[in-house]
Amino acid sequence: MMRFLLLFSRQGKLRLQKWFTPIPEREKKKIVRDMTTMVLARKPRSCNFLHWKDLKIVYKRYASLYFCCGLDAEENELIALEMLHRYVELLDKYFGNVCELDIIFNFEKAYFILDEFLLGGEIQETSKQVVSRAIEASDMLQEVRCCPVGTDLRSVFPSS
């Protein structure tokens, strides 16, 4: 499983953090510091895989953002790269030509999209279209202001 997913800028500013195991606040900060230091120190054309304690670290740079995830030792690093790429594609589809500022100013949307793609550290949906449709439907639901408890929303917004 994936233990954590971090997004940070070239200056080391954290833009998103998702933790899939319970970790004390202090240790989270330490892990973030370690990851940013390690990843930012890497040369441009290096390999995308690192070893840190007993975890495999897979990272990829997209424009000004680093996507960095920590995996259990038995995970497949290449498919993890694909996972990171899929997440970027989903963000791109949602925001349209996503850039770092989109993620800064709409961080909660980035989390919602992530929560439709990964669950408990594992992939929950392998189809891009399904994920995008689910996000759109949730957004539309959010716009409906006063929905009384018990309204069968499935009649209004059919499930994908």
Binding site: L14, R15, L16, Q17, F20, P22, I23, P24, K29, K43, R45, S46, C47, N48, F49, L50, N76, E77, L78, I79, L81, E82, M83, R86, I104, F105, F107, E108, Y111, F112, D115, L119, G120, E122, I123, Q124, E125, T126, S127, K128, Q129, V130, A134, A137, S138, L141, Q142, V144, R145, C146, C147, P148, V149, G150, T151, D152, L153, R154, S159, S160
Partner: protein, 788 residues
């Protein structure tokens, strides 16, 4: 006006802050406002306030006062508030916070909500931060959702079940039936979740693993469908149909096929198909191939398939993509022990990767190269490793040097090659070698006796080039000290000899002594080497004398001590100098802590111990008198031994009791332990019997008996032996001898005679008999032979 602009406005303001202090100020103001808002009644802005707080939290500021707000928002009927509330719960709450228990009920309610999106929020949160308690509470709900809901919910419920099983493994049994039925679904999301759940169940419970082996054919079918299916736009990634699902299925097959022939057989064809048909030009395809290779190597696959797998890894090694080269090497590392020959075929490519730019790739290549060293390829591989050492990154140097030394030690084709290799490493990376390298190398040099001339020439050349590498300098000094005469002779078979004078050699050593780069230990080596040369050169002994005397006042105490001792060697013990400084014997590697010089080569073999049946008697006892230690005071003359039996005890003189023990009847050797009477007076008899005898000692027993009508009390026996013999008297059995032979007292005596002088013993007997104290001394010149 959309209230979220206020959130974005705050973010803009925070980002506009020019200093850390300014940012802190802005955030403190905002947090105060947020806290105030939380205290107010519901005014429709709660979700945005929480969102603002979550942003602040991400910047690293404390946000614990938002925890209760999360709980409240989760319970709200409005979807937008629930959404942010659950997000807040996942970010601010974890199972260690007390507030997390409060949301259990909300989650429970939301799991049965009409809206699947609300259900989804609850499932997501439970899978992210659900504690063991919550998991136990809600497990039945999850099981229900696994069976009777739409695919959107089913896939989430499956992963939620995975989380529950991780937290509370016992609940695995609850989900097993549902997991089984999920495999029939067509929806990829649900299938993926099902495979993950089954993997988790099988990893935790061997019985479940046994059960699920039966689904291998089904999994094979699903995989086949994915591999053979045409282009499916929904799941296609770079030409591969749903690589995520393929990888998960392959991983599950690996677990099911491990250590099981039937299951492995069932998947053989499929694995071969995937291995050959998957296009690996992009990462997605490579990921699937990688997983296939891992599975093939882990199950009981046929050899043809294994070779195919190793070849795929070999192909990966040539890939342009650095990532693929890296993972290929990690996989090869795992299998190099079991499939050594297969990996050897790719040695060339692996060695080339030593020259890669990337540090991770270099590290992997180094590990793999070291694992591939064998007697056959040692020469060529070592060349590559030494080349690598000269340009390798500093963090890998220590590992490389120790790897090279280990390999050289195991597979060195010749001693000269071994020495050359170690010297090469010392010249290139002498600062990164282990401490034992210097003594190990010295030991190696001493054993290579034919190469002394060669070695000293090489080391001399190295020394005059560069004296900064301490380990090399130390070995060089030692060699020059030891074999300097070979150096000065000016002839060498193995290499171009140097034409040096004694002055040149002494110059080199003095440079080391005086250089600020030399460590104290190195200077010690140099000084001793200089001293040793005094017996190996002819003309410049005076120069050595003066060097040594200068260092007699050196500030370094160790050097000073050495110099003073060497000075003394010159002045007072000049006659011993040659012997002390002569050539050292070969150092035995296994002797603990190689002590310099004194370990005389080889332990002399113990002479055959011959069991002597007879003690050879001295012909005239008078000569032996001066050896006896006069412990007993009084007369220095030996007690006349007339009362003692002098004769050589043979089989013929065996005493009572012997016949009973004559089990071997007819043999010459008497089985009975002969015991000799050594003293008889006043009814007290003292007998001596030899229990055992070696040529350096014996054990005897003295037995005292009493034939009088009264008991003998306070019996003590004392014994004296010649100077070089050691005596140990054990405790007597008692000090009272009962009357009329009804009992006896015995005492064992151990004699150690390392110098093999003729054994004699004087025994003093003291006792009280019928109220009178008696004391007597007897001398024993001969001892009876032992029992066997």
């Amino acid at each position: 006006m959309s209230p979220s602009v206020r959130l974005q406005e705050m973010i803009r303001v925070i980002r506009g802050a020019r200093t850390q202090g300014e940012e802190r100020g802005v955030i403190q103001r905002e947090c105060a406002a947020i806290r105030a808002q939380f205290r107010q009644a519901d005014n429709g802005t709660r979700s945005h306030n929480l969102a603002k707080l979550l942003y602040v939290h991400m910047l690293g500021y404390p946000a614990h006062f938002g925890q209760m707000e999360c709980v409240r928002l989760i319970a709200s009927p409005r979807y937008n508030e629930k959404r942010v509330g659950y997000l807040g719960a996942m970010m601010l709450l974890d199972e260690k916070q007390d507030a997390s228990l409060l949301i259990t009920n909300s989650i429970k309610n939301d799991l049965s909500h009409n809206s699947q999106y609300v259900q989804s929020l609850a499932l997501c949160t439970l899978a992210c931060m659900g504690s063991a308690e919550m998991c136990r509470d809600l497990a039945p709900e999850i099981d229900r959702l696994l069976r009777a809901s739409n695919s959107y919910i089913k896939k989430k419920a499956a992963l939620c079940a995975v989380h529950i099983v991780r937290k509370v493994p016992d609940l695995g049994e609850l989900f097993t039936p549902a997991a089984r039925s999920l495999l029939c679904e067509k929806n990829h999301g649900v299938l993926h979740g099902a495979v993950v759940l089954i993997t988790e169940l099988c990893e935790r419970n061997p019985d479940t693993l046994e059960q699920f082996r039966k689904v291998v054919p089904e999994l094979v079918q699903i995989m086949k469908g994915l591999v053979m299916s045409g282009y499916s736009p929904e799941h296609n990634v770079a030409g591969i149909s749903d690589p995520f699902l393929q990888v998960r299925i392959l991983r599950l097959l690996r677990i099911l096929g491990r250590n099981n022939d039937t299951a492995s057989d069932a998947m053989n064809d499929l694995l071969a198909q995937v291995a050959t048909n998957t296009d690996s030009s992009k990462t997605a395809g490579s990921a699937v191939l990688y997983e296939t290779v891992l599975t093939v190597m882990d199950i009981k696959s046929e050899s043809g398939l294994r070779v195919l797998a190793v070849n795929i890894l070999g192909r990966f090694l040539l890939n342009n993509d650095r990532n693929i080269r890296y993972i290929s090497m990690t996989s090869l590392q795992k299998i190099v022990q079991t499939d050594h020959n297969a990996v050897q075929r790719h040695r060339g490519t692996i060695v080339d990767c030593l020259k890669d730019q990337d540090a991770s790739v270099k590290r992997r290549a180094l590990e793999l190269s070291l694992a591939l060293v064998s007697a056959v390829n040692i020469r060529s591989l070592m060349k590559e490793l030494l080349l690598f050492l000269s340009s390798c990154p500093p963090e890998l140097r220590a590992h490389t040097t120790s790897g090279i030394f280990n390999a050289a030690e195991r597979y060195a084709p010749s001693q000269r090659w071994h020495i050359d290799t170690i010297l090469h490493v010392l010249t290139t990376a002498g600062g990164d070698v282990r401490d034992e390298t210097v003594p190990n190398l010295i030991q190696l040099i001493t054993t290579a006796t034919e190469l002394h001339c060669y070695t000293v020439h090489k080391l001399y050349r190295a020394l005059i080039t560069d004296i900064s590498v301490q380990s090399l300098v130390q070995v060089a000094c030692w060699c020059i000290g030891e074999y300097g005469d070979l150096l000065l002779r000016g002839e060498c078979e193995e290499t171009e000899p140097v034409q040096v004078t004694e002055d040149d050699v002494l110059d080199a050593l003095e440079t080391v002594l005086q250089s600020h780069m030399s460590s104290p230990a190195t200077r010690g080596f140099a000084l001793t080497a200089t001293m040793k040369l005094s017996t190996r050169i002819t003309h410049n002994v005076d120069r050595i004398r003066s060097i040594v005397s200068i260092y007699g006042s050196c500030i370094d105490v160790e050097l000073q001590q050495r110099a003073v001792e060497y000075n003394a060697l010159f002045k007072k013990y000049d006659h011993m100098r040659a012997a002390v400084l002569e050539r050292m014997p070969v150092i035995d590697k296994s002797s603990p802590g190689h002590t310099n010089g004194e370990s005389a080569g080889g332990i002399k073999e113990l002479e055959q111990t011959k069991l002597t049946q007879e003690v050879v008697l001295p012909k005239d006892p008078g000569n032996q008198v001066c050896d006896l230690l006069d412990l007993l005071g009084g007369s220095g003359e030996p007690v006349p031994s007339s009362g003692l039996s002098h004769t050589v005890p043979g089989p013929a003189t065996s005493t009572s009791g012997g016949d009973l023990l004559d089990l071997l009847g007819g043999l010459d050797v008497s089985p009975a332990p002969p015991s000799v009477k050594v003293y008889e007076k006043n009814g007290v008899t003292l007998k001596l019997q030899t229990d055992s005898q070696t040529d350096t000692g014996m054990t005897i027993t003295l037995t005292a008996t009493n034939s009088t009508d009264g008991d003998i009390t306070s019996l003590t026996l004392q014994a004296a032996v010649p100077k070089s013999v050691q005596l140990q008297m054990k405790a007597p059995s008692g000090d009272v001898i009962p009357a009329r032979g009804l009992g006896l007292v015995t005492q064992t005596v151990l004699l150690n005679n390392p110098n093999k002088v003729s054994l004699k013993m004087r025994v003093r007997v003291c006792y009280s008999s019928q109220g009178a104290v008696c004391q007597d001394t007897v001398q024993i010149d001969s001892f009876p032979s032992p029992a066997w």
